[in-house]
Amino acid sequence: MKALMWKELRENRMKMIIGCVLLSVIGVAVSIAYRFFEGGIPGIGQIPPEYVDLIKKLLPDFSNVNAYLYSQWFSKNLQQVGAILAVVLLSGAVAGERELHTAIFLFSRPVSRGMILASKVIVLFGGLVLAVLVSTGGAVLGSAIIGKAPQPGFVLTATLHSVVALLAFASLATLLSVLVPDRVKAMLFSGGILIVLSVAGQFKPLHWLNPLVLFGSPVLIERPVPQLVPIVVGVVLSGCMLWTSYRMLQRQEF
């Protein structure tokens, strides 16, 4: 198992490092940019007064740094870049072995398919979680630099929701990586499914389909306690998709 994990780490280290650095830079930049929004939206005075109230209703209250970080970091940049990183990292997990013709070598060694999949999932999920933690740390650091540190309880809760949601996205990419023998196709399918569900979920009757609800609702800003429903749904969904990936991999012939 250790040997397999070492191999995965070596193979994916550049993707993980780039993802981690990119997310961290965005995290720091977004939090430092709060300086420009703290006093209100720049240039709002030039907007006709009849629209100002409407805009203020639509936008979060940026006088609260938690609200700013929730809207600009957790439910925007981390959500989008994190989802891309999850899909990019996991889509190649099994599909990459097939595409590069290394699958026959790996699967003919005396290791079980469960161990092979588990080593990939542990390392790649670990890399994703590390990227979320480091970049969110960067966002908190950026806020501290400008003297506007967010509430720790809020940061921890929102991070927990982000991790659960991104691991669910990563589990979907893992499943497609097992089903589709091509890295790019697996990536496009998993990204496509997430986009279609997110768009469909914008319509009220289909709101339950929206995978972005796994990131938690804005209630977190005022009440930073874990929201059970998205967490349980995220964990159960991830578990089901990983179990299905394992079963499908067991049944596949190489």
Binding site: H101, T102, P110, V111, E253, F254
Partner: protein
């Protein structure tokens, strides 16, 4: 004891039958060559032996174990060089040997160091910089490095130039002689099978049409020119299977059979025939007779 036993094994991919009632026996300690044209079912047979897929019907045992049930434990005793495979290009030769050894639960030991004097590969270099021939040699190196009981090679010399092929086969023959190793070798390069294998099986359309020792095949397959008496023909020949026949004139035939010469002569005599001439055929011609039949 036999290293591999396949009895009535079939394997289907949907509507396509890759193997049909395949029977094969590989004696322990032999160098066994499985020969057949592309699509005959050689690679499917090998994947079944490794437990990478399950047979649709029939019984298969490898080193006394059932691959579909004991696949993991069985693969620990097998060295395998696949036909179309790549090794991780970001690893060096030594790293892939270490990685493989750890998957087999052993370490890079004296055996690996001894093999390096045989293979002489640049193990410090990344695999991405290796030529095709070097990769194939590394594949054999990896397979031998874990001291397997059975070595399975799926068309290992395909696409190699004659020098590398000769080196590959030389190393294989030497290493096989050094230890009690059974080698299962699939190929459609007849000259190398004839050179290094002691037993062969010919495959066609998913099943074996012949299994025998190379020497026996070459010794027993003969073209007999036979003159039949009035009212007799090759149809009257009993007890020997005729592979091919060709009329030379009104009463003379060239008849090709795989049988002991004494048995063939008796069969022709019993059918009212007189053997005028006996010819042998080169090994590749014999192979073609079976797979084209």
């Amino acid at each position: 004891m036999n290293a591999i036993e396949m009895i009535g094994v079939s394997k289907s991919y949907g509507q396509v039958r890759a193997l049909e009632d395949m029977c094969l026996t590989v004696p322990t300690g032999s160098i066994f060559g499985l020969m057949g044209p592309n699509g005959a079912g050689k690679t499917t047979s090998i994947k079944l032996m490794l437990g990478l897929m399950e047979p649709t019907a029939g019984s298969l045992t490898v080193l006394g174990a059932v691959p579909s049930g004991d696949g993991m434990a069985l693969r620990r005793r097998i060295g395998f060089v696949p036909e179309d495979f790549s090794l991780y290009p970001h690893m060096t030769g030594l790293e892939i040997l270490e990685f493989n050894a750890r998957l087999y639960g052993c370490s890079v030991d004296e055996n690996v160091r001894r093999l390096q004097t045989v293979f002489e590969l640049p193990l410090a270099r990344k695999i991405a910089t290796y030529s095709k021939g070097m990769r194939k040699l590394l594949g054999l190196y990896i397979a031998l490095s874990t001291e397997p009981e059975l070595l399975i090679l799926d068309e290992p010399t395909e696409g190699l130039d004659p020098m590398v092929r000769s080196h590959f086969l030389g190393v294989l023959a030497d290493e096989t002689a050094r230890r009690n190793l059974t080698v299962f070798f699939s190929s459609h390069i007849l000259s190398e099978v004839e050179k290094i294998c002691d037993t062969v099986a010919f495959m066609r359309h998913g099943h074996t049409v012949l299994q025998d020792s190379v020497e026996s095949v070459k010794e027993r397959y003969r073209v007999y020119t036979v003159r039949f008496g009035a009212g007799h023909s090759s149809r009257d020949v009993k007890n020997i299977a005729i592979q091919r026949e060709r009329a030379l004139g009104q009463d003379a035939w060239d008849v090709e059979v795989l049988a002991d010469q004494e048995q063939a002569r008796t069969a022709f005599a019993d059918a009212g025939g007189t053997v005028l001439n006996v010819q042998s055929l080169p090994f590749d011609e014999i192979f073609l007779r079976f797979v084209e039949a």
